[in-house]
Structure formats: structure tokens, C-alpha cells
């Protein structure tokens, strides 16, 4: 089992213990309120550097201060049932320093398969995992206290399982996975579960991933002031909605979403794009099979580049308010294409 990481994002333990002591008297709601007001700041911290290479570009992820490679290695699908050590090693050599994985309950075996890589590189990379806090309601319905408690318990149980599978005592962030219900986003029960895990030294930052009802989820995350990271399903043409495997109905384009993205950034939330080019992919890869779908949004410079439609999509969102993009890469070909797209995105925008 890995030792706790010395260079993790600093958290003032003395300050936290003061809060916890107060919370022990006042109950869990006070815990989150006190923590939010006392220790969180939307101001970026001193930058955290890990495995930076000249072949990659980097962006500070909100108030975490972490300088993330603009390409995030999405390990969930890539490592389900396979080690892919050479693929991970190649990504590392190219300067990718941000590895995103998911609970075994969802991406079976992926965390265990990432563990050998982390054994060699844990202090040199940023590791995020995630798990669903399952509640069964419609997007618009508020969850009950009982549901929130159950969701928090389930989520933290999966977090513990993630740490065990990753063979580490600490992950840099842990997300609420695939959130669509704003009332879950603002659940004090879930947030307090995160704070307890943070106090126990298991996790550094709180985040969420969303690809349905994403705009409302992100707006709620901003309001709470609790979230450091948001992984959002977004494309050059706007929000991506998994429930339709298409663009969200009546979505604004990414250009039109700049105000919201700016608010998130100002709130200290690092923005990670996901499902960015899925719409373009073939059907068997859950896409619509229309590689030219976003072309009308691109300028001449990008359109005339040698980039593939997928590379253009990544380059575009990275130049329009998204800090980094998470890509699911299961072979060397896709990895190399994505490295080029993310590392050279700025060349195609004036």
C-alpha cells in the first residue's frame, strides 16, 4: 500500500480540526457551512507541478492549483480488463500527468489495472476516481434526507473500495459520478461524507461528473461553493446529453456558454471536458457517425488544418473555456492523435 503523499495539495489540518470540533457539537450541517466559509477560497493556490514535459501543454485546474496536462487520460474504459501498462507509460512520457479512473462497480477492474502504474508514478501524477451516489428520482425532484444518507453511504463505500483497488491511501480528487439531479449536488449529507474522507486523508478535492442536465448541475455546483472540479459533457456545439446520445435539446453553443464557464472558473472550479467528440464517433462507439457535425463552428485556420474531426473538436473546446479534456484512449493510435491535438490546439486560433 502506498504511503500518503507528501506533496498532496495542502490542507490546513489544524484549521480543520477546529471546525470538526465545532461540528461535533453542532452537527453535520454546521460542518459543511463552517468549512465552506472558513477554509475554501476561489483564489488559485500555489501551482502544483507533476510530470511536466515539453511535448504537452498545461492548465491550472481552478483552486486546486494543480497544473494539469490538457489531455486527461480516461482510464475507465481503457483499463477495464486489461493492464495497458505500455499505453500508460507512453502517456506519461508524453507529459500526461492527470489520470481519471472510475469505481469498479462501473469500470470493472480499471482501478486494479491502474495500480501497477501508480506504484511507479504515484507522486508524479494526479489521480482522480469517481463513483455514483445512487438515488432514484427524476432530475427535477428533490431527494429525501433518507435517500441522501443512503447515497452518501454508498458513495463513500465505493470510495474506500477505490482506494483499496488503486492500492493507494489517497486520491487527489473523488467525484460524484454522472450526477443529473441538482438536489444531490447540494446534498449536505454527501458533502459531509466527502469532508470526513478528506479529514481522514483519503481524498484531496471534491468534484462531480455530469452529462445530463449538465447546465443546472454546474450552476448548482457553483452556488454551493463546495466543488473544486467539474467534469462536464460538452462539445463545440454545446452540452452533450447521454440520455439522448446527442446534443442537449435547445443547448446553447459553447461560445454562448462562455458566461457560465467563466462563472465556474471564477468560483474556483476546474473544468474538465468529456464526451467532447463522442457525437462524431461511429455508432458502435456510441456516436452519431457524423464527423463533420461541428465544422460550421470552426474558423478557416482550424478547418484547413491537418487535424482529424476528433482532433478539431478537442482543440476547439480547449480554446473556449474548458481547461482540459478527458479522452478515453484504448490504443496507441488514438493516444498519439489526442496528444497532438491537445498540445498544439492554440496554433489554430488567432
Amino acid at each position: 500500500m502506498m504511503k500518503k503523499n507528501n506533496n498532496r495539495d495542502s490542507f490546513d489540518r489544524r484549521e480543520f480540526f477546529k471546525i470538526v470540533a465545532s461540528a461535533a457539537i453542532s452537527g453535520p450541517i454546521f460542518l459543511s457551512t463552517a468549512y465552506s466559509k472558513t477554509t475554501e477560497s476561489t483564489q488559485p493556490k500555489e501551482p502544483i507541478h507533476r510530470n511536466e514535459q515539453p511535448t504537452m501543454t498545461y492548465r491550472k485546474l481552478g483552486r486546486t492549483g494543480f497544473l494539469s496536462s490538457r489531455l486527461v487520460f480516461g482510464c475507465g474504459a481503457a483499463l477495464t480488463g486489461r493492464g495497458a501498462m505500455r499505453l500508460l507509460q507512453r502517456a506519461f512520457e508524453a507529459g500526461i500527468n492527470h489520470f481519471d479512473v472510475g469505481s469498479d462497480i462501473y469500470y470493472k477492474g480499471s482501478e486494479r489495472n491502474l495500480a501497477p502504474f501508480l506504484k511507479n508514478h504515484r507522486d508524479q501524477v494526479w489521480v482522480v476516481s469517481k463513483a455514483p451516489a445512487i438515488v432514484y428520482t427524476k432530475s427535477g425532484d428533490s431527494i429525501t434526507l433518507e435517500q441522501a444518507k443512503s447515497a452518501a453511504k454508498y458513495w463513500t463505500g465505493l470510495m474506500d473500495a477505490s482506494l483499496k483497488d488503486l492500492q493507494t491511501e489517497y486520491v487527489d480528487a473523488y467525484y460524484l459520478m454522472a450526477v443529473e439531479n441538482p438536489s444531490l449536488v447540494r446534498s449536505e449529507e454527501v458533502y459531509n461524507a466527502f469532508l470526513k474522507a478528506k479529514t481522514a486523508g483519503k481524498v484531496g478535492h471534491f468534484g462531480l461528473s455530469t452529462h445530463k442536465n449538465a447546465q443546472k448541475v454546474l450552476e448548482t455546483a457553483i452556488e454551493t461553493g463546495w466543488y473544486d472540479l467539474a467534469m462536464i459533457g460538452v462539445t463545440p456545439a454545446g452540452w452533450y446529453d447521454w440520455s439522448t446520445k446527442s446534443l442537449a435539446q435547445d443547448t446553447s453553443t459553447l461560445i454562448e456558454l462562455q458566461g457560465l464557464l467563466k462563472r465556474a472558473t471564477e468560483a474556483g472550479i476546474g473544468l474538465i471536458g468529456m464526451k467532447t467528440v463522442r457525437y462524431l464517433a461511429p455508432f458502435w462507439s456510441l456516436g452519431k457517425g457524423d464527423p463533420s457535425a461541428f465544422d460550421k463552428l470552426y474558423g478557416e485556420k482550424l478547418k484547413s488544418s491537418s487535424f482529424s474531426p476528433f482532433q478539431r473538436g478537442y482543440a476547439y473546446v480547449l480554446q473556449h473555456g474548458i481547461d482540459v479534456v478527458n479522452a478515453d484512449m484504448q490504443n496507441f493510435k488514438h493516444l498519439e492523435e489526442n496528444i497532438i491535438a491537445t498540445a498544439t490546439a492554440d496554433r489554430y486560433f488567432s
Binding site: M85, R90, G109, K245, S285, L286
Partner: protein, 311 residues
């Protein structure tokens, strides 16, 4: 007999009739029809004291993502036909749940592929289906063309017991054509690590050109060696794959050597600290990967070539 008892009896008879229809459908009209009948069978497996949340649902390749999100791509890569899903909730405590998913993968090979790719090492094995295991109170089973996942909200013994009963009921009503998985018998059995066998339809070893590939781990002395075997459409296609493998080794490794040992022609790839050795045999591409000792890599690759069990 009370009216409730009569109703229960009618329901049981209906279920039996549907079971017979399902079995007949497999024999006459192919597997898809059987798979369409599954909701009734699944409903009949509801644990005592539990109820179905919402309804039994079925998903096709077109809408699987609605249920399992991005994981759908994994199952589609193995040509999934239909997934039957139900959530059982405790009648007294509805936040307690057990999720049952039955993936109809069309063939035993594809079902083995998803089962083996998701399989965890060192879990408690089950005497259900062709292979299965329990992790906490979750159950994962391969039977014929089906892959069964049972996910429990809690890990208690009670959930383990209910999960196992459910697993038994489901494996009982699912049919197995008995069709063999080719790769399971082609690679040698000697020194093969139990439960290490896997099948990748695409992207084996992170290589976009490696399709229809089986991998297995072998214990050679104190060293574990991963062997692979890929079936191509033709000898010509296999030759092309060999060329692609050599290109990959030159790009990401430190070069290749071509060796000949008796009848066997090998490409030895120095990947910088580890070695891959690849051979072609007709329309097959095989070899070993990620071996630290070069001579061991060569030796095991030759051994694999010689011991391939081809009929």
C-alpha cells in the same frame, strides 16, 4: 385454495409456459427471441420479500447507453444483442437494492470476452454457468451466450445469500448452446494460470490492429509470461498484422530481430526493458508480451508455437 393461491398458481403456470416457449424459441428461431422472453423469467425470480422497482427493462445496442452510460461502448465492441435489466428493492427498505443485468452477447465467445475482461482475480469462484465468481455480495457469471451481473447495495451475508439465490435461479433458466470458445482450447493448458484467460475482440494490448485476440498468463519457473493468440481472416491478413507489429515495435521500442528456430520464424521486439516475441502460423498471430527476460521470451514463444492445439 384461496383466491390469492389460485392466482399464484396461474402465474406459475404462465411462467412455466413462457419458459417452454423461450426454450423452444432458442431451438427454432435463434437466440434473440429467447432473449426477448427474458423479462418474464426475470420477474419470476424476484427474491421473497422484495419487489421490482419500476419494471424489467430491455436495452438494445441503440439505447444501452441509457442504462450503463459510457460502458456501453465496451459491450458494443463485443457485439451485444440485448441487455435485460431489473432493479429489485426490499419491500420494507426501498433504498436497499439488488440490480440484475443479463447481457445476451449472441455467442459464447463474445459472452466469454466481456466476462473475462471484467473478471477479478482471486475472488470466490462459483459453481454456476460455465464460470462465475462472487465479489462481496456481487455476482458475475458466464453461461453460454449470456453474461450475468448481480450488483448488491450492501455486502452483508444477507445480501450474499439473496444474491446467490438469484444467481442460481437466473443461471437455471438461461440456456447454453454448448458451443465452444475456440481460443480456450487452442492455447496450451500446461502452466496456464487459472482464470487468466481473456478474449479481446478489438484493441488487444492497446494495439488497434490486434483483433480477435486471446491472452493467457503462464507460470514459467518463477516468472509469469503473458501469451497471446490472434485469429486473422487469412494468412495474408496475418502477414500484414506481423508487419504492423514490427512497425509498432520499431516506433515505441528499440528495434526488432528476426529469428528462426527450426520451422518457427520469430520477430523479437526489444520494447526497452521488456520483450515481445511474435510468430505467424497460417492465419494465426501469436507470441508473448511484456517479458523481462529476452531468452525466456524467445523460449516460451517457440514453445507456444509448438504446442498450439489446432484442429
Amino acid at each position: 385454495m384461496t383466491s390469492a393461491g389460485i392466482l399464484q398458481r396461474i402465474l406459475r403456470l404462465k411462467l412455466l409456459a413462457l419458459k417452454v416457449i423461450a426454450v423452444m424459441s432458442i431451438g427454432t428461431n435463434g437466440q434473440i427471441i429467447a432473449s426477448q422472453s427474458l423479462p418474464v423469467m426475470v420477474a419470476g425470480s424476484t427474491p421473497k420479500g422484495w419487489q421490482i422497482f419500476d419494471e424489467v427493462k430491455q436495452f438494445t445496442p441503440k439505447n444501452l447507453y441509457e442504462q450503463i452510460n459510457g460502458r456501453a461502448a465496451f459491450f458494443l465492441a463485443y457485439d451485444m444483442i440485448r441487455m435485460t435489466y431489473v432493479r429489485f428493492v426490499n419491500s420494507d427498505e426501498t433504498t436497499q437494492f439488488i440490480n440484475l443485468s443479463i447481457y445476451d452477447m449472441g455467442t459464447p465467445t463474445n459472452a466469454f470476452g466481456v466476462f473475462s475482461a471484467e473478471r477479478s482475480q482471486g475472488e470466490s469462484s462459483l459453481d454456476l454457468g460455465r464460470s462465475g465468481y462472487r465479489a462481496d455480495a456481487n455476482y458475475f457469471i458466464w453461461k453460454g451466450q449470456y453474461y450475468i451481473r448481480i450488483i448488491s447495495a450492501e455486502t452483508t451475508e444477507e445480501f450474499q445469500r439473496i444474491g446467490k439465490d438469484l444467481a442460481r435461479k437466473v443461471t437455471d433458466f438461461l440456456m447454453d448452446s454448448g458451443e465452444q470458445v475456440w481460443g480456450l482450447t487452442a492455447l496450451p493448458l500446461t502452466d496456464r494460470m487459472p482464470e487468466s484467460f481473456q478474449y479481446f475482440k478489438v484493441d488487444a494490448m492497446g494495439l488497434d490492429f490486434m483483433r480477435n485476440t486471446y491472452t493467457a498468463t503462464y507460470r514459467k519457473g518463477n516468472t509469469l509470461v503473458t501469451a497471446f493468440l490472434s485469429q486473422q481472416d487469412s494468412a495474408e491478413s496475418a502477414r500484414t498484422t506481423m508487419v504492423q507489429y514490427a512497425k509498432y515495435a520499431k516506433k515505441y521500442g528499440k528495434g526488432i530481430d528476426r529469428l528462426k528456430a527450426g520451422e518457427v520464424e520469430l520477430v523479437s521486439c526489444d520494447m526497452g526493458g521488456t520483450y515481445d516475441v511474435v510468430y505467424q502460423k497460417g492465419c494465426l498471430i501469436g507470441g508473448v508480451t511484456y517479458v523481462e527476460d529476452r531468452s525466456l521470451a524467445n523460449r516460451v514463444a517457440i514453445e507456444m508455437w509448438e504446442k498450439l492445439r489446432l484442429e
